[in-house]
Amino acid sequence: MDMSSGDLNAPHSMGTTIIGVTYNGGVVLGADSRTSTGMYVANRASDKITQLTDNVYICRSGSAADSQIVSDYVRYFLHQHTIQLGQPSTVKVAANLVRLLSYNNKNSLQTGLIVGGWDKYEGGKIYGIPLGGTVLELPFTIGGSGSSYLYGFFDQVWKEGMTQEEAEKLVVKAVSLAIARDGASGGVVRTVTIDKDGATRKFYPSETLPLWHEELEPQESLLDILSTASPEPMIS
């Protein structure tokens, strides 16, 4: 029994920030792009928002392997379900399939997921599926280690019935704030917006994101600063 790492049984969130938000007409899913193995950033431009069907996407956090295999199985089942149904599957069915895998393998899997999409019966829907396999249909939800820094933020700024633009801006701002403080989150902000017309992917490199507290405007080189600065730029 390893004592050094404290309470091993407390749930712990893993590298990533993921967000799912509903708005008036659809949903916006957002995520950072950092995959780490220990302290090393294995992939600085990963895509954590994975497609399940044309109208349903999933945000993955926790173990990359576990979240990928769950997504792959669900995509496989949904594909067959769509053929049998003869029309696009609902977001609820997708979420329930994810639940089955997460709940029935709760002792082996370490992945927190957010399922989001649009169908003609219920419109835009977001389902949060944390560790253990609980499913909760929510107006918005956050996940991953970076989400710890966003609970207060969302408590303050969340409101029902946002426009698509407001919702996208909110998601990008939130992921950006989490990246600023969470070492396990970083890279770029990716979003997927899903409405009645389908899914649209967007990509926000760091230059497009606002600067937060104690962050400086990136420069090409000190030399540029020196050349444009006043007579005494080098402070001793």
Partner: protein, 243 residues
Amino acid sequence: VTNSAPSMINLIGSESDSQRTLYPYVTGTSVVGIKYKDGILLAADMGGSYGSTLRYKTVERLKTVGKHSIIGASGEISDFQEIMRNLDELILYDNMWDDGNSLGPKEVHNYLTRMMYNRRNKFNPLWNSLVLGGVKNGQKYLGTVSMIGVHYEDNHVATGFGNHLARPLLRDEWHADMTFEEGVKLLEKCMRVLLYRDRSAVNKLQIAKITEEGVTISQPYALKTFWNFSAFQNPTAGAEGSW
């Protein structure tokens, strides 16, 4: 009612033998229930905690079961959702007989007890403590089942922290044939104490009522709290650094 130290389980068989739930993830806290003049009252808050984080604040932990009963659950929410799937199926099959008979609270409580105990015997418990209340043919019923299958009926029951904080209040103030108003006030007193003293409590709760007429669950609401004791104003005035 306690669970044995999870680490001991490893001594009784290797990890690879079978799946077993070692610890819960998203949990609900106390449920409190009392019998009153017209039936049963249950109360539970709407929190779903994730370790020490108060993660979900609108989780319905009181659910109707058929026409005569309500179940309240504390513990792992995913296991409660699974229990509800089993119960809904049970009720459905019961209705399909279409014989005018319907499962009452005593039967549902027994079913739950078997479910929980059999899982416990396989070292793979459903990590919940449940309260089951109902009224059928004028008979009031209030029972509880724990994750290891311990079950009993009583005039007032509670799970989790409620065992320590609510039951003393209920023992003192419960009496037979309380009115609805008295019952609600007593439950709210218990819930307020839990709000003060249980870290995983959230200030959004529901109260459920079961009578011969039927089952209803209130809309979510919050309780007022009182902080204006003079002793709270300046508690460390005479002893700086203490608390």
